[in-house]
Point group: C2
Chain length 445, copies 2
């Protein structure tokens, strides 16, 4: 028998698929010495332990329900959950489902909303197809798109969300270049975006829909609206989804998840989409797993129907609002004006996006990142969230390196102030260094 170990011949897709870029942060995050503003995770203290315990008891005290929860369900997902999700969606949109053309049959249950995002990419994208996304953007999904072979074309992020006028210009250019047929998706996290915390304005929503209608010539362009953070809203208006403007259910996909507003451990998401897309996604999901875990779907349905979900979201929002305020207060207090820093003031979600002067460097190999590690505080370097663009001097492949993503999601409330203090110290030292000053710093010999 041969003892040789000939090479594993991976598929083209596997060769395009790398490790998620921030896995190095995952390892550091397990170390309790760090105050962790890097993890985009939900707060362990606010997980619905008591609620899900009670729901499990309810399910297992009925023989018939328990049997259903332990048996396979359909690939589309538990009918009761799809129905409860639709009712919940009507409440969020303040509109009848008929007015946005969605029935229970157009809702897919998936293993978190990530699986829905993946499946939608999988059924729409051939290598070379185009997806338009904000810059910066949720980097796990742009990584997924790249592994599917998509060309991700970035447009700027503005304080009003993804720049709709820039999308229009880009579509005009692609039309002139005869590449409009390759545009499959416009991806947008329309509420409290990861990483910026910014929200697509009310006015931009129907405008974006009008754009995809106008530019869907021979091929349909879809809007993929990722609403993962929608219900983590702490102030500001309750905005309708882009989908809610479309009575025909043709161009818009709306993904929601139970992970952020309830419990990631259920790994359950629900997505409303046009029926022809859903059919293709459903066939694909049949091959992937022929249906997500049934037990967790029963738990999610019971949480929605029994009112525990709404109750928990209210609690969560109170808790996160306090943590957001603590972070914004501490930034205001501790980051010196001399640092030239600015940051977003998100009305919801888990992220504050901090911008330093153009010549600052926040990347993994930067002195700032090292100084923070030494001080025991973690952030996500902003450059992971960017697609390369043309730089300010006209150079190609430019990636801004002067941003930090700060999450108040997982960190304990009492750690926010000391964490921001440490970060501010490192930022101040970096600013002084760039100006040629010398500032003494505790753990930065």
């Amino acid at each position: 028998m041969s003892r040789s170990n000939p090479a594993l011949a991976l598929s083209a897709k596997a060769r395009r698929t790398g490790e998620q870029p921030i896995s190095f942060l995952m390892a550091a995050a397990a170390d309790p010495k760090f105050i962790n503003f890097a993890a985009g995770l939900v707060d362990p203290l606010t997980l619905p332990v008591e609620e899900v315990g009670r729901i499990a008891q309810t399910i297992f005290s009925s023989d018939a329900r328990a049997r259903a929860a332990l048996q396979y369900d359909t690939t589309l997902g538990l009918a009761r959950l799809r129905s409860a999700a639709l009712t919940h969606l009507e409440k969020l949109e303040n509109k009848s489902a008929a007015d946005f053309g969605v029935s229970e049959r157009e809702i897919l249950i998936s293993t978190g909303s990530q699986q829905a995002l993946y499946l939608i990419g999988d059924v729409l994208i051939d290598p070379g197809d185009i997806v338009i996304a904000a810059n910066p953007c949720y980097f796990v999904y742009t990584g997924t798109l790249a592994s599917l072979g998509a060309t991700v074309m970035p447009v700027p992020m503005t304080s009003d969300g993804i720049d709709v006028s820039a999308i229009e210009k880009l579509l005009c250019r692609l039309e002139r270049e005869d590449r409009l047929g390759r545009v499959k998706l416009i991806y947008t996290t329309s509420y409290f975006q990861n990483p910026t915390g910014l929200t697509l304005s009310a006015e931009a929503r129907p405008r974006l829909l009008a754009l995809v209608r106008r530019f869907s010539r021979s091929r349909r362009i879809m809007i993929l609206e990722d609403a993962a953070y929608r219900e983590l809203r702490y102030d500001g208006p309750e905005l309708p989804s882009i989908k809610s403007f479309e009575r025909e259910n043709r161009h818009t996909i709306l993904t929601h998840t139970f992970s952020k507003p309830f419990a990631p451990g259920l790994k359950t998401g629900y997505t409303a989409m046009p029926p022809d897309l859903l059919e293709a996604v459903l066939h694909q999901k049949g091959n992937h797993d022929f249906g997500s875990a049934s037990l967790t779907q029963h738990i999610a349905a019971e949480a929605l129907d029994g009112g525990l979900y709404d109750q928990h979201v209210r609690l969560l929002c109170e808790s996160y609002r306090r943590k957001r305020d603590a972070m914004l207060d501490a930034l205001q207090r501790y980051v010196p004006a001399s640092a030239g820093a600015s940051w977003t003031h998100p009305s919801g979600g888990l992220y504050v996006w901090l911008t330093l002067p153009d010549d600052a460097d926040t990347s993994r190999s930067s002195r700032l990142f090292q100084a923070c590690v030494e001080q025991g505080v973690l952030y996500v370097p902003g450059d992971y969230s960017f697609q390369p663009v043309q730089g300010p001097g006209g150079q190609a492949g430019f990636v801004p390196k002067n941003h930090l993503r700060l999450s108040f999601g997982r960190v304990a409330p009492e750690q926010i102030e000391p964490g921001i203090q440490r970060l501010a110290q490192a930022i101040a030292a970096g600013a002084a260094e760039r100006k040629g000053d010398v500032v003494p710093m505790n753990a930065h010999p």
Copy 2:
């Protein structure tokens, strides 16, 4: 605004992906008037309702465990479950894990074993790559392989499982044709195969391993061993897996699931595989869902560790053994010798494979299938499980149509005898018709 509805431009893969062929049976299966030998589902009466109820109580009575179960876990899966699965595997193989080169780090937790099968295909197969599989074979996976663009090359199924000598001949031929580099996988359900109920013999297992070692020249050929039914063993010897013969963990992948031996609703599977393959699969799963539901993994770990799993498997095996015996007894009693039928006598699993004379037709459009529907009994036409081959007369694209897959999985024990009685009546009528006799039949005017 335009009211037109331009076509959705699906990916090449989506265009290769159709509906699962037997979804028409799913709809019929919901109708209680049918005695359902078609569904390959587990018995609802033997689901571990009490056990999982107790486990849920255990988990939710500890705040720390409940919090972990409701939070994200890693993409690889819950460490405690991977450890428990490895210990369980050692027990099944009656061997230390070091002797088959697997540590907890080489075990992936997936959304059922189907997701592992999918991911493995996804990272190995480019369109045109070759997978060798038995004929007949588990049709959901051959459908998945086809959607990935694989060329599925069938070899016969024998009473000793997939025909290893035929694989050798095929590999020799592919080598002569300079196509050996395209062979990625040999797929085999090595225990109580779906659809035949047959098992790969003890002697064939190391032979198959030796074959892939020998033919892995510049590219490695892998054996994908699907052991979904392994623990549903009613009599006959306890066979070691193919993986257990390989100390190096290079060529063998072994998938197990909690769905068949415990509860499908947990949708949890575990797969041991070589580390370089696992790395690629893990990156891919990072994009698919970055980890399966955490709560159901905690439940599965508690079931394994607490002994409830083993206890339940014993109960299940007793229950299925009785149902298998009832089916074999009824076939013996009611199918007349004149029908020229034969069937397998499986030592485990959920399926009996019934073979009629070559000129019989059991397909969906056949008179036999119609007669059975009219009599209120369902089976899976055997032709769904076949890849086309060269026919007995030398014709290409031949698919045998004289088989039926009968499952005793989901059907109630007391329905087995009347169900087989109805089926036997339809078979007898069909046999008489083929011989030109006229036999009166109740619901077949």
